[in-house]
Assembly symmetry: C3
Homo-oligomer: 331 residues x 3
């Protein structure tokens, strides 16, 4: 297919063709990464600015490595020592990186919508710059959604991962749905792919209002459960989500121990699933809360390392696809 | 010309030949940056140590990108986790980077004179290392002065920017002159170039003592005003300076609002200037204080993005010119 | 020799052949660094993850430059913004970098044993990853020990440094032995090389218990002194150690001034040594405490800059030697 999308802000309106283009490109980069020379000159001369207003080691490292392997030049923005503290607006900070020659900006911000606003401004300026949302508040984390999709479809067909492989598969997403941008991105991609998606969380973390909203997007493929059993029964994949310890202060859950007793993924509970079930988690994991150490360390069950490995291939694919369409008009 | 200056510490004693060498070299790097392959091997094998004792995202990123495009290896010093907190002197820190193989050190420090002291020590050791002052206290910020000069002269002749183009031009510098190392650097370069430089600020930010000092350097070309009108009238360029919000605590200005009313650059006030007037600001900008958003976002008026873009070309030029003269004697 | 050691965790069990392999490889990289093109493609496509849980500018910069000159890709982990604060275990953090494709991890941690635990886990997973201990608590700092060895043996024979050169040499180690991982590493390498090692410190910083432990490892070559004179008399090399100012709070020493009076290295005291004596210090130095400025700045006496310079060559050698044996099984 001919890739035309300039920014990757959300999976809400991704087409099946776009999902498959990402999966196929990522598969070809996985092949590149298995070679001795892991670098391709695809983004030579281009500048990728990693603008993580909300700090992150894991995702930033993954983007950084992906950009390096495409031979891009990288600028890392560090909010602590930045102009923001001196009264500059976020848009002006982004415009400064534009003027410096950035072609792609990966943006993480604790407020939902910041990458969208920057993308709109970049377009208004005819800058040619591409924005990649690396996580905005509780809204979206599209590269995580796509690496989960790549990880799952690669289990089903490592050579030719594609969304069609998910048709009819049952996927449970268990955990703090309410506060998870990862869940929001995955709901779009998995239901679009034709999977049955079963959300499971305590009522405080999976409110009625949330369901009304997403159900409109994913009619027919989305189910909700406040108990684990119906979600896990015959599931092909179980995606667990991080439980942020701060949530306990918000009275969302009575205690981590009680959460684990009701919703923690154990080897025993996985027996309800399809025998080939595999477990995912976006990390960082609270061992013994969302998932037992036994499950996490069982290489036959856990896909967690594969998710991290997929992250580099998928982010190479995203930077490559939007990089070819991007062209900083100032250069 | 044959470039012989090893360190770039201040514009105080720059010759016209040196200004023009920087402008011409920067123009040729601007041409390189417009190509698909933006890298030249000029500093291959050389180490540029960015030693920003005072944090900065903008200037450090600009130096970093410039060094990358010259194929240098880069070491970023982070003061937070440094040996300085363990009792090491700044000179010993610099000597450690020298021993590690640094060829060029870009140095920012909140105390005036630190780059000069390090440069003197490097010379005493016959190290061959070059020091580039990236901003020292209230003293000098030569690379900013040179990128402003490059931006202005490029407006007048993009192909062949040179200082002679500024002869007889009127340039207003408006804002917190007292606390601005940018203003100090620009005063030297612009008056040397034969421009008429009109400083304008409230009396608290432009004291008599300051004028006595700089006037000795720039006799005949420097004018002072405590009101905006005579500074702006028939001006060809208006350079605005950042007003640090901390200044309000020092009682230098009664309020940001009153400052803006008296000294803020608006579209209306710019009508006093030459019709081809262009506006500069070193950033980060406090929108609505030094300058209105309307002026800042008018691409026909504002040169702010061009200043940032020029920064990369000018810093490439500076690193290139001193890099060719530098040769770490330890290697 | 055929290098087979995958991890470099401690010098405790290094063989003479291994010491000499490091010294010879470092000497050949020193020769590379004297050329105009300082890069070799030895680690092209490999990822070096610098995981400094305890911050350090000096050692991290040295490892970073060494890795760059071997053409490796580098990931810098910054603990401040890391997943550790979100409840992830250190082992899971290391496994994340493994999954991202790291081939070598350099690890610094304030707790002794962390690099060992990570190395054991990497082996258990058959990951093929190499761990390089960049300083663990009070335990070991092998790359510092090896760069000291390289510095000393290079004084004796710059072309062909080898451990045999140290046979019968007298080396004094003066300072805070108790809290020094540098001393612990040096004791192993120097006694193995056949040098006479004389430790000297106040009794609080050189307790009986410490001696009993190390004496078992280095029987016959290790001597202890609570006074400076017998340690310095006829010494060929004097290694001074950093006195951390925090130690004063622990009542280990009465005052920095008194410490300097009893144990500080002055030009006068060095007259007791062999006339060709040279002085080392791992840095950062408290001038006037462990050593006078006069001694430190005398290029005929001080080897401190050579130690820093050696650091890059020795770390290139270590990364090269273990890099050739490492092969991330996920790639």
């Amino acid at each position: 297919m001919n890739w035309t999308r300039r920014h990757i802000l959300s999976l809400e309106d991704f087409t099946l063709e776009e999902y498959n283009a990402v999966l196929q490109t990522a598969a070809s980069f996985r092949e590149v990464l298995s070679r001795k020379t892991k670098k391709v000159p695809a983004l030579q001369g281009q500048v990728v600015a990693n603008m993580f207003f909300e700090p992150s080691t894991r995702t930033r490292s993954s983007f950084e490595l992906a950009a390096k392997r495409l031979s891009a030049d990288i600028l890392n923005f560090s909010p602590g020592s930045s102009s923001l503290t001196k009264g500059e607006t976020i848009l002006d900070t982004a415009k400064t990186y534009l003027a410096m020659g950035a072609n792609i900006m990966t943006i993480r911000h604790k407020q939902a919508g910041v990458p969208q606003i920057i993308a709109a401004e970049m377009d208004k300026l005819n800058s040619g710059v591409s924005i990649l949302n690396a996580g905005d508040g509780l809204h979206q984390h599209p590269s995580q959604g796509l690496l989960d999709l790549f990880t799952i479809t690669s289990v089903l067909d490592r050579e030719s991962p594609c969304v069609e492989l998910l048709s009819g598969k049952k996927i449970a997403i268990v955990g703090d749905i309410l506060h998870s941008r990862v869940a929001r991105s995955n709901i779009y991609s998995l239901t679009a792919a034709g999977a049955e998606v079963h959300l499971c969380a305590p009522p405080t973390l999976l409110p009625k209002l949330f369901l009304d909203t997403v159900n409109q997007q994913a009619a027919g493929n989305l189910y909700i459960h406040w108990q684990l059993k119906p979600a896990l029964t015959k599931a092909d994949f179980v995606m667990t989500l991080r439980l942020q310890k701060e949530r306990m202060q918000g009275n969302f859950i009575p205690s981590l121990r009680e959460y684990h007793q009701l919703y923690g993924i154990t080897r025993d509970r996985l027996k309800m699933c399809n025998p080939t079930v595999r477990v995912l988690h976006p990390g960082p994991v609270n061992r013994g809360v969302e998932i037992t150490s036994e499950v996490m360390d069982d290489q036959g069950l856990s896909l967690i390392p594969q998710q991290v490995t997929s992250g580099v291939s998928v982010r190479m694919a995203l930077l490559y696809l939007i990089g070819n369409s991007s062209n900083n008009s100032l250069n």
